[in-house]
């Protein structure tokens, strides 16, 4: 599709959608969202970009091969599940750390659960893009 308007708009839109996907990912634990949904949103951003600029351009702008993203996601999710094993707990038990949390507040929550969700995000993102790019490659 060769539309200057779409092409121009897409550069900003794709960035915004990607940002939005990260927002959806991080809020997911308490509000609607989460890794799966965010991964779909992120791939929508890249798909939009590919529609406007072509698959080759989209691949280049992603810099990393989607298969690697997906694999990294799988590894991250699996690894975050394995952390609990090291502590002698059942695999995929959520471990939480509240950075700077005192008696007054909870602090910044960091957890293996978050790492797991990021893994899901990357795996979905990479997988959908793998499929889409392969469909459009010629």
């Amino acid at each position: 599709m060769n539309s200057p308007i779409l092409q121009g708009a897409t550069r900003i839109l794709a960035a915004l959608i990607l940002l939005f996907s990260v927002y959806m990912l991080l809020r997911g634990h308490n509000e609607p969202g989460g890794g799966f949904i965010a991964g779909l949103i992120a791939s929508a951003a890249l798909i939009l970009f590919a529609l406007a600029w072509g698959v080759a351009e989209a691949r280049a702008s992603l810099r990393v091969a989607p298969a690697k993203l997906a694999a990294a996601g799988g590894l991250l999710a699996g690894g975050s599940g394995a952390v609990a094993l090291l502590s002698g707990l059942a695999p995929f038990t959520g471990l939480w750390l509240f950075i700077g949390g005192g008696d007054d507040g909870k602090g910044l929550p960091v957890s293996t659960v978050l790492a797991f969700d990021i893994g899901v995000y990357l795996a979905v993102f990479g997988s959908v893009l793998m499929l889409f790019f392969a469909l459009e490659d010629d």
Binding site: H29, E31, P32, L40, A70, A77, V113, F116, V120, L131
Partner: protein, 770 residues
Amino acid sequence: METNSHTAVSRRQGSGRDAALTLLVLAAPLGATLWLLALLPDVRAGAALQFAISWVPSLGVTLAFMVDGLSLLFALLVSGIGFFVVIYAGLYLRGHPLLSRFYLYLLLFMIGMLGLVLAADLITLFVFWELTTVASYLLIGFNHATAAARRAALQALLLTGLGGLCLLAGLILLGNAAGSYQLAEVLQAGARVRADSLYVPTLLLILAGALTKSAQIPFHFWLPNAMAAPTPVSAYLHSATMVKAGIYLIARLHPVLSGTGLWEWALTLTGAATAVVAAVLALRQTDLKLALAYTTVVALGTLTMFLGSDDTVAIAAAITFVLVHAFYKAALFMVVGIIDHATGTRELTQLGGLWRKLPVTFVAALAAALSMAGFPPFLGFIGKELKYEGALAIATEPLLVAGAAVFANALMVAVAATVVLKPFLGRPGRQATHRDGPAGLWLGPLLLACLGLAFGLDTSLVADSLVQPAVTAILGRPETVKLKLWHGINLPLLLSVATLTLGVAAFAAQHRLRALMDSVAPRLPLSADRIWDSLIESLKSLAAAQTRLLQHGVLHKYLQTVFVTLALLLALALLHGGAPSLEWPELTIKEWAAMALTLAGALMAAAARQPLTAICGLGALGVGIALIYLFFGAPDVAITQLLVETLFLVMIAMTLHRLPLFSRPHHASLRRGDALLAIAVGCAVTAALLLALQQPFDPATRDYFERAAVPEAHGRNIVNVILVDFRALDTFGEILVVFAAAAAAVTLLRGHRIRSRNGNGNGNGNGNGE
């Protein structure tokens, strides 16, 4: 024969590395043997040593090992003969490019065998049983370049694997009947098991496993075929160990299962038939290795026959014979390997006068053969005397057992004489190219054969340290076994004399007998090997026919099959579940609107003539469903549905030109059929859903997650908390599935593209028709 070319070519290079490898591998059986020998005094004193690791505690399965008299005897045979076999193989296969692989298989097999005989848990036993099956498959098929080896390996695998499945079922039944999988407890539960209503199937299934493994009629044919394996394998698998696994199992479960008429008759008859038939077949062979293979079947038949009994002497005879047989048979196999190496043939008719060139081998062969033929003062003689004493002591069918034993032993005498006399002393034939060869080759057979002599001369070496504890373990009561060389003139001795006479006669008449058998054999209507082949063939053609029927490659028909099945299954369920009661729900206007949107989308997709219209219709339908999710309080699901719907639409639209879907006019009749099917599936699913909704809703799970989400998982979005915390393992599996699906799709797309690029020059992407 099979390795001569290899050894000739590459003997020089890498033999130092091979020797180092052999020494390394040797440590395993040596260590095991020494450890087992160290346990000997304890076991002799009657202790059963236990080692256990909890494995599947929820099912009561432990990885448990136990050393008692019976398992110690077999374990010592496995590791001790394994030790000699490794030495022998190191020289026999010296310079073979796959020597390290051979050792890997051999050690795997050794571990399997040791685990099997030391297992103290039925499931542990079965797992190691299967390990020996797999390892023997790899070993028999070691010369994988020859079709015969591949066929023999597969045959052995399928047959013993089939037996293994039966055995698993049998062991589970046994465990249920006994109330435990622990061998120690099972062995105590004999009375309960024999009184169990499922005793007969239990026994038959377990025997099916044991008898296939130990090559009893009618499953005897795989063992001679397995001679395609390198000679060290034959010496190990087919003399001392693997085929004895079935014997071990029978002996192991003797206290639990024996004592019934079925046990007695099944084992006695199968064993006797196997011994007699195999003895006749053994005499017929002119290939040394095949002749030995058939005598192994004779030995296994004899053992099975004696284990059918409850009598102390019969059991002692069986156990002694296990020892005797392991020593002489391993030695003889190795001797045949040496002959094969030196002359390049194992064919009896071409061999003769080898004693000049292979004097040491000759001594080993002679000693082993004398033990096999049962001459005094070899251990074989004692074994034979015990057999006759045991046969006569069997109360129910002494004549049958004694007759079969005498007949089989007589032919064994003839075969033993043939195997030694003809190649070493006969008229000179094919000459040996080199002398005895390195010590490692003849050391094993010589030592093993000499052990047969030493144990015969001084029976106290084995009688109360090995045989007596084993007999005690089998019979489950303390027994005293005395092995004596000279019993005085009695009935067993007379039977021995008869055996020798008969054997010498058979040896003298062997040419005539062989000619007679050769003329009869082609006229026999049945050969187990041929029946097996035709069975396998018919199985293959059945598989091919059903694949043609089910896997036709037409997408349209696949979908039809899936949906017809779905509709029929649901209809069946609805017939049993009753009709749902129809109540019109209270809906708000926006819910009506979402429903109308969904319906309109469906109608539009169904009625569309243009692909783009159909896709838009599907999109509308998807959005309608997402709205319904949203209205009924599932925002996460709604968002996901909306996103998937969007991405799906984009992808379909982008790939539309590749799909043959609309590229040809649909036949009107086809469309009508599809519409009917769609309506049927839709109605069935709707009815099933309505019915499901009428079931009372159990809120226990939901309440738990609502309660636990914040305190335990620090999250307020229950859906996400379930996905990433409570059910994280499931999610992990799902993302792997997503990844695998994407990878598979990419591979398929690439493959298709390469094919269409290479296939036809004018391929324009439309090449993927049905």
